[in-house]
Symmetry: C2
Subunit: 415 residues, 2 copies
């Protein structure tokens, strides 16, 4: 399947992808768009031109600053819209391509748009579902012989994070101030974090609500997941060490999390489904699932110092997840906690088994003991001011590449 | 100061209080009201009748299912509206009282209204700021000699909670299912929590936002706090024990939290300001404050078994808080985390130093070892199915009582 829009083979956005996002330009106020090659299809314009007339949908739902109202319409509607967009963009369709006026109304170059937060995030959970990451952390901070805590293989461990400070790719990140205490110091001090880190994660966004008291099974979860984004869970390691016992991470995380702007649908990722790691012991029945729910998505992290080249420092893969998204969502709802439209559920740091696949500086430099050398001759234990951290991800199969674009953020000095 | 509405001396809602809430009746869709004695003043009606014409405010802001749009207008507007409401209700004012038609349009009996969630909660933080509670928990679960963790007297410890499952008083609470593991068991099991508890808390709601990267001082916090509600942080102790290391409470809390429907403003609580406990060691400069920011508010918890009488089981006081609200909000923003309108910040369990003031069953029965006898002859270690838990609170000074009403919830059996 090809589009009448010319698309480079290494584009993240072929006609098989069609991710949704919110964009604006100097002429167009915030609205829903779909990425196609180097362009954005303006769904607000497409809907107002009656191209969705066979779908029972109010065109105004695309003229919104967030995707929430659209995705609240449910999976049959997301699918119908995406299928119709696919048809409109196919090389055998001239409804838009046949008129330069239509093309001007419906297509905008990605280089001319500003991408905005795709959803208004109601609730945000961060899981901790990579066994390699949890093992690395346990090895460093607790006991190498008992690196995993006793609950880890029974529970998709997670915690609630701060929704307000989730920002879209391109937003500068201010180095946080906070309390830290050196092991040999009598008392803590307050000031800029010295150990600023990223965490390579993927997050899913829910598009269907449950009522308080209801729970869903892993096999039902697919109907609740709208799509996925790349997620950088910025972390201040020195603040985290001092604050996190007994109630978990708080200010060490809540200063910012960054996401990629295009939400890639579960449908688009279907070709990349793979079997996940064996789960032993067998999970409790409420976490049992059938089929494959891991995804072979290659992930990369790069550091770009101010004015210098990008340095690739990590290659990981979303398929390494021990607990899959379906289990995570089933667990979240297992106590009757209600799921809402626009919730974000992040994977936790995605590390693989070899050193080059670790998804944080903490692990890559092993608490700073093994600094990474960059191409400009400098080295990094953690992230410096004015460094830009970039994450990219894509699946590739039979020559078709489905990508996420990127999430990037530049660190500014503390105020 | 008296109202032309007759108000019982033991009412929580004299003319000096005037808390804001959202109500509906069979005839009136959800809208903003103010409690006065046994009545609700319909601010939507009051505004449409032009009684706010000297205040620059759109009447539609009162015709909303949440207070968020109103409180986003800022403290000068909350104050102007509350002062005008006070004038309209004073016994020397006949603008409403002079006409039975006006009275019918503006006043509804509380017994005829359904109270709804007062705000759409964007972000929810639960602090852990009672030193007596933290000491009790540390004594039970860790080491009586080192009950407080090293960070506790330096940091207003808190964690992010689940916003979606905060419900208004009167909502039934479904006993959660979840994983628990007996100390001597090899593996966890999944089923109804056996140790369901309440936590007596007070929460404040913010009415002013900060930008990402900004922080505020404790002395600035008063301008950000709209008002307070009673807060029951329902907790499943057996689930909590098994899940909470290392990332904190998650499903043990996220099944539900209950709040009282009337938001009592900081202005109304001004007469109850008292000095808080001495803070030693001295907090870091970003947590320093001037003036008094503790509040002498009497708090009570009652258990009412199905079809039986209420049993008062706890008398505590909001003034016991070690960390005050201003310090909590300053801490929350100290890393640049942005505050939003409608955020909820709960105190953590409020226990005093004597046993009758402990704010949870965990402490009152000392992990179930000292059951509480109820007037119907039964006893409780934790909360049973069909028990209703009720919390009430008020300040009293110079014969004037400013109350919160109550938050109550009945526990239903697990599904």
């Amino acid at each position: 399947m090809h589009s009448w829009i010319e698309i480079s083979p290494d584009s993240d956005f072929p006609i098989q992808n069609l991710p949704f996002g919110i964009f604006e330009t100097d002429d167009r106020d915030p609205r829903v768009g779909v990425a196609i090659g180097e362009y954005v299809l303006d769904l607000c314009a497409v809907a107002r031109l009656n191209f969705f007339e066979l779908i029972d949908i109010d065109p105004n739902v695309f003229h919104r600053p967030y995707l929430n109202d659209f995705i609240a319409l449910g999976k049959p509607t997301w699918r119908a819209v995406r299928n119709r967009v696919s048809a409109l963009l196919r090389n055998d369709n001239d409804e838009i391509s046949g008129s330069s006026d239509m093309i001007d109304k419906c297509l905008v170059k990605q280089s001319d748009v500003r991408m905005l937060m795709p959803v208004k995030v109601g609730n945000y959970t961060d899981f901790y579902s990579s066994i390699e990451h949890a093992t690395n952390v346990g090895t460093m901070f607790r006991d190498p012989k008992n690196a995993l805590l006793p609950n880890w293989k029974h529970i998709p461990i997670g915690y609630h994070g701060r929704a307000s400070s989730i920002v879209v790719s391109g937003t500068d990140i201010r180095r946080p101030n906070g309390q830290t205490k050196a092991p040999d110091a009598d008392a803590p001090t307050f000031g800029p974090s010295r150990l600023l880190d990223f965490e390579l994660e993927v997050a899913f966004i829910t598009g269907k609500e449950t009522k308080l008291g209801e729970s869903i099974t892993p096999n039902e979860a697919d109907n609740y997941i709208f799509g996925l984004v790349l997620f950088n869970d910025w972390s201040a390691r020195d603040m985290q060490t001092w604050e996190y016992v007994p109630l978990g991470p708080f200010l060490a995380k809540s200063f910012a999390s960054s996401i990629s702007p295009w939400v890639v649908t579960l449908d688009a990722l279907e070709p990349f489904k793979v079997k996940g790691p064996a789960q032993d012991p067998k999970p409790l029945p409420y976490l049992e699932f059938s089929g494959n729910h891991n995804y072979d998505i290659k992930l990369e992290v790069l550091i770009q110092p101010e004015g210098a080249a990008e340095n690739s420092i990590c290659h990981s893969n979303f398929k390494y997840m021990y607990w899959n998204m379906n289990q995570q969502l089933a667990h979240q709802s297992s106590n009757g906690c209600n799921i809402q439209v626009g919730d974000m559920y992040a994977s936790g740091t995605i590390s693989g088994s070899d050193k080059g696949s670790y998804g944080s500086m903490l692990e890559l430099t092993w608490r700073g003991t093994q600094p990474i050398k960059l191409s400009d001759g400098t080295e990094r234990k953690f992230i410096n001011d004015y460094d830009t951290v970039i994450m990219r991800g894509y699946g590739e199969r039979n020559g078709i590449r489905i990508g996420f674009g990127e999430v990037k953020g530049k660190v500014l000095p503390a105020l």
